[in-house]
């Protein structure tokens, strides 16, 4: 018999999990007499079954939770049957990758459950959504341990019976039934703790098996068919698997970078964090370590700057100037908002807003009246009214998200209506600036762990990018759809957003800026400054139909993946598109990049009718209607964007931290800050001369002696000049 095998001691698979199994043996059903001590028969059997399974399926091995599954089986089955039971559960009944590294299968099922809740219990779904509450932190355990410990024992066994007979679909049915059963209790509560608490306890006391069955098999009807659920599961699994892979890659990359920066930190730790123009002719640059913030002020004309006697209690994360009041506002990591007088550089007031201020925006409402928005790391937005340089009294908070708000951007649409766009995690929240009502929110990537780096309003749309990535997105501010994806690293327009493009890279974008004359400036993590021009072509009418097609697939793909619906047809279509494109490439030159594919696919796609695409996809979608898609397409594809690289310059060994611009007279001056305080040429002033952009560094002066501190060549030059002057004086 299998279980009599003596394990070779060095068997790699077993030893890998041996320790964890050993740790969990006495931590499995410890209150059951069969498992109560290390001499109990059940404990030995448990060990044997789990170890054999590691041999049988080393790619899954041992995952906590399996001990409970085997433990329950052993109460009713002989060890050998318990083993096969585990094999069936892990390999047949659950999705692949359910228990192996990353537990992606289990996570995919949670997405699927969420989707079903939305479908069958929409009011509960809305209630949870409004509280931004994720049930999966509770329901994940229902699935992973097949309701062990979540339900009364009897009830759990009944579910086990159905589960072994019918497979994992039944877990969705019962989960929904449980939520349906206790819906009223959940709906009554309005805070996280009470909801989780009431869910946990009301489920724990679900003794009414018949009532539960009635809900599960009668009241929930019509329940999605097995096939549909399996299809959903598979799609979510695919998405989860992809994002898990990219996350792993990202983590490895991050570790490398962290190691790099740790080494760097020993030399420089005073990172430049933010900068702002103040009173026309000055630029304030904030830098510092974790526990202190410092400011240096540069003179735009003289290109000289000096460190100020301003030291704050923690890092300055954001800075805004309101020239009308001679006021400079700084938002700190500690959550303090400090007002400074921009003329005498004295602190006027210091206000604690409780949570780190990651970004700020000031909007002029009328003369002598400004609205200031502070984005906090706890997901709140603070609204402040300012009518002078006095400490503000009108302050209130708006809950936006549960993730930090990293950026606030003022977006003015075609009707001159003002909106503020808030970036939090991978979601953009749009608020009406006047009413502060939430207009909409949308996700910009599939991976919910992505963070938006920053947003920039341009007349073509809103630019944004994701932290760690080198891809710039252009969003339409009327339709909230992505109009352009462009990889700055590859200098290539992308047709499809791939998940692993977001792996953390040295060439990641760190900041960007859009100028009036269709120029976009990018700063990267490896210290490059890139200037692109963006051009817009209007499509000719005849060409329109063709154009639609080549873009349709991309956009569909994007819309779907963004909303987590990558469905079969979409995939097939994409597949056809790629296959055909591939064929064409083979026939000609295979080294040609993207543009070439676009042209070819355009021809190919002529064969498909737009209606066909729409219909075919909408068949598989339950949410967006045909019309909705049609509108999106019609609105968007009259315009085509093209980006051309004009300049690329290495300006630092460190990341470019900020770029900002200001009109001085007829000229536009751009200021870039890169690297850390103490390095040469961290702050540069760029101005345009005969179509070329030239830069001049700011020279740091000692505030007391007024002698250049750095860089070295400036010092030499200065003393040389001084010497010359003295000599000329002598001469006279």
């Amino acid at each position: 018999m299998i279980l009599k095998i003596d394990f070779p001691v060095k068997q790699k698979e077993v030893t890998k999990f041996h320790h964890q199994i050993y740790l969990d043996l006495l931590r499995t059903l410890p209150n059951n007499v069969k498992f109560s001590s290390k001499y109990s028969q059940g404990v030995n059997q448990l060990q044997e079954v789990l170890q054999v399974f590691c041999l049988h399926n080393p790619s899954i091995g041992y995952c906590q939770g399996m001990n409970f599954i085997v433990g329950i089986s052993l109460l009713f089955l002989e060890p050998e049957d318990a083993f096969w039971c585990l094999v069936v559960i892990t390999e047949k009944l659950f999705l692949p990758h359910y228990f192996d590294s990353g537990l992606v299968g289990a996570q995919a099922d949670q997405q699927c459950l969420k989707n079903l809740i939305e479908l069958k219990l929409p009011d509960l779904h809305d209630h949870l959504e409004s509280l931004e509450l994720d049930l999966s932190s509770i329901t994940l355990n229902w699935f992973l341990a097949i309701f062990i410990d979540a339900l009364p024992f009897e009830t759990m066994l009944r579910i086990w019976d159905c589960f072994l007979l019918e497979g994992s679909k039944i877990l969705f049915r019962y989960s929904l039934a449980l939520l349906h059963m206790h819906k009223n209790t959940l709906m009554e509560n309005n805070d996280t703790i009470s909801i989780f608490k009431s869910l946990k306890y009301s489920v724990k006391f679900t003794f009414d098996i018949d009532g539960l069955n009635k809900i599960a098999f009668e009241q929930l009807e019509p329940f999605p068919k097995r096939k549909e659920i399996i299809q959903k599961q598979k799609n979510y699994l695919r998405i989860k698997l992809e994002s898990w892979k990219s996350r792993r890659l990202q983590k490895i990359n991050q570790d490398i970078i962290e190691w790099d920066s740790e080494n760097d930190e020993q030399n420089f730790h005073l990172k430049i964090d933010c900068s702002s123009f103040v009173d026309g002719n000055f630029v304030w640059v904030c830098y510092g370590g974790q526990m202190e913030g410092n400011v240096m002020i540069g003179d735009l004309e003289m290109k000289k700057m000096s460190v100020q006697n301003i030291v704050t209690e923690s890092k300055i994360l954001s800075i805004v100037a309101i020239e009308e009041f001679d006021l400079v506002l700084m938002g700190l990591l500690s959550g303090n908002l400090i007002g400074f007088n921009s003329v005498n550089k004295e602190q006027l007031w210091n206000l604690n807003l409780k949570d780190s201020i990651l970004n700020m925006l000031s909007v002029k409402a009328e003369t002598n009246f400004y609205r200031l928005y502070c984005a906090h790391s706890n997901g709140k937005l603070t609204y402040i009214e300012l009518d002078s340089d006095k400490e503000p009294s009108e302050i209130f908070d708006i809950n936006v998200s549960s993730s930090p708000i990293e950026w606030i951007e003022l977006v003015i649409d075609d009707h001159e209506e003002k909106y503020i766009w808030l970036a939090s995690a991978n979601t953009v929240y749009v608020y009406n600036e006047r009413t502060l009502l939430n207009e909409t929110k949308f996700e910009v990537s599939v991976n919910q762990f992505d963070h938006i780096l920053m947003l920039k309003h341009t007349k073509n749309g809103v630019l944004l990018s994701i932290k760690g990535s080198s891809i710039i997105h252009l969003y339409d501010y009327n339709t909230y759809k992505c109009k352009l994806l462009f990889d700055v690293k590859l200098n290539l327009r992308l047709s499809i957003e791939k998940d692993d493009d977001f792996s953390f890279s040295r060439n990641r974008l760190t900041c960007f800026l859009s100028l009036d004359n269709n120029l976009i400036w990018f700063g990267t993590g490896d210290g490059y400054l890139l200037i692109y021009s963006i051009e817009i072509y209007e499509q000719k009418k005849i060409d329109k139909l063709h154009k639609k097609f080549s873009l349709n697939t991309q956009i569909f793909k994007r819309i779907m993946s963004r909303r987590n619906f990558s469905l079969a047809t979409d995939f097939n279509l994409d597949y056809i598109y790629h296959e055909r494109a591939k064929l064409n490439v083979k026939r000609r030159d295979s080294s040609l990049p993207d543009k070439f594919l676009d042209k070819n696919s355009k021809k190919e796609m002529k064969k498909f009718k737009s209606e066909f695409i729409l219909k075919d996809i909408s068949k598989h979608l339950d949410v967006p209607s045909e019309n909705e898609f049609k509108i999106n397409i019609c609105n968007n594809y009259d315009l085509e964007y093209k980006m051309d690289l004009l300049t690329k310059a290495k300006i630092s060994d460190q990341p470019v931290r900020t770029i900002m611009s200001k009109k001085i007279g007829d000229e536009i001056a751009v200021i870039t800050c890169s690297g850390n305080y103490g390095e040469d040429e961290t702050v540069l002033k760029w101005s345009q001369k005969d179509k070329n952009w030239k830069n001049e560094p700011f020279i740091e002066m000692c505030p007391i002696t007024n002698i250049p501190k750095r860089p070295l060549y400036a010092k030499i030059e200065y003393f040389q000049n001084l010497k010359n002057k003295k000599e000329t004086k002598k001469f006279f």
Partner: protein, 220 residues
């Protein structure tokens, strides 16, 4: 400390004598270092030699009184096995506090604790209060991680640090209360009113008006 200096500016908070705050706290650390036992000791005052292994995460609550403030903890006790690591963001997302636990008789678990601290400092909310707990102080004779080493690490990374024992209850209450003390206290009423503001747009009347409306249900 900074939280107290603030009382006047936001409106509200000073009106009621006793306040209620809610905090999300997550426990992280290697398998079988005693995360669940610490929580069980804190929540129920019990200790089991063989605590059931945690799958996914367990949810518990406990309330402590700090001066005139009632602090409600929403506790997420996570599973320690390496492959559950990818689920951790789901639990530490939005958490105001974290206890990273290691076993003083297991050097490896201390290294694992350090990677957790790193991850939290990188990924979790920037102002999260992190406490490092060297658990199983009752096994001091098998000690593999010295107090000084851990203390030094904790100081360098500005963590709260205590050696605890869920078995003898040593320092268990202390570590939770010192976290509670370090957290910025904003009144739950205020929070609730702000939440309702969020949903119904903005009530220009300020926080005080709202507070009266919701205080009845939120206190209980």
């Amino acid at each position: 400390m900074s939280s107290q200096t603030r009382s006047g500016s936001g409106g509200g908070g000073t009106a009621s004598a006793s306040r209620t705050c809610q905090f999300k706290l997550v426990l992280l650390g290697e398998s079988s270092v005693g995360k669940s036992s610490l929580v069980l000791r804190f929540v129920k005052g019990q200790f089991h030699e063989f605590q059931e292994s945690t799958i996914g995460a367990a949810f518990l609550t406990q309330t402590v009184q700090i001066d005139d403030t009632t602090v409600k903890f929403e506790i997420w006790d996570t599973a320690g096995q390496e492959r559950y690591h990818s689920l951790a963001p789901m639990y530490y997302r939005g958490a105001q506090a974290a206890i990273v636990v290691y076993d003083i008789s297991n050097k490896e678990s201390f290294h694992k604790a350090q990677t957790w601290v790193k991850e939290l400092q990188r990924q979790a909310s920037p102002n999260i209060v992190i406490a490092l707990a060297g658990n199983k102080l009752d096994l001091a004779n098998k000690r593999a991680v010295s107090y000084e080493e851990a203390k030094q690490y904790a100081d360098e990374h500005s963590l709260l640090f205590m050696e605890t024992s869920a078995k003898t209850a040593a320092n268990v209450m202390d570590i939770f209360t010192s976290i509670a003390k370090k957290l910025p206290k904003s009144d739950v009423n205020e929070q609730a009113s702000r939440q309702s503001q969020n949903r119904s747009g903005v009530n220009v009347g300020g926080a005080n008006q709202n507070q009266q409306g919701t205080s009845g249900c939120a206190c209980k």
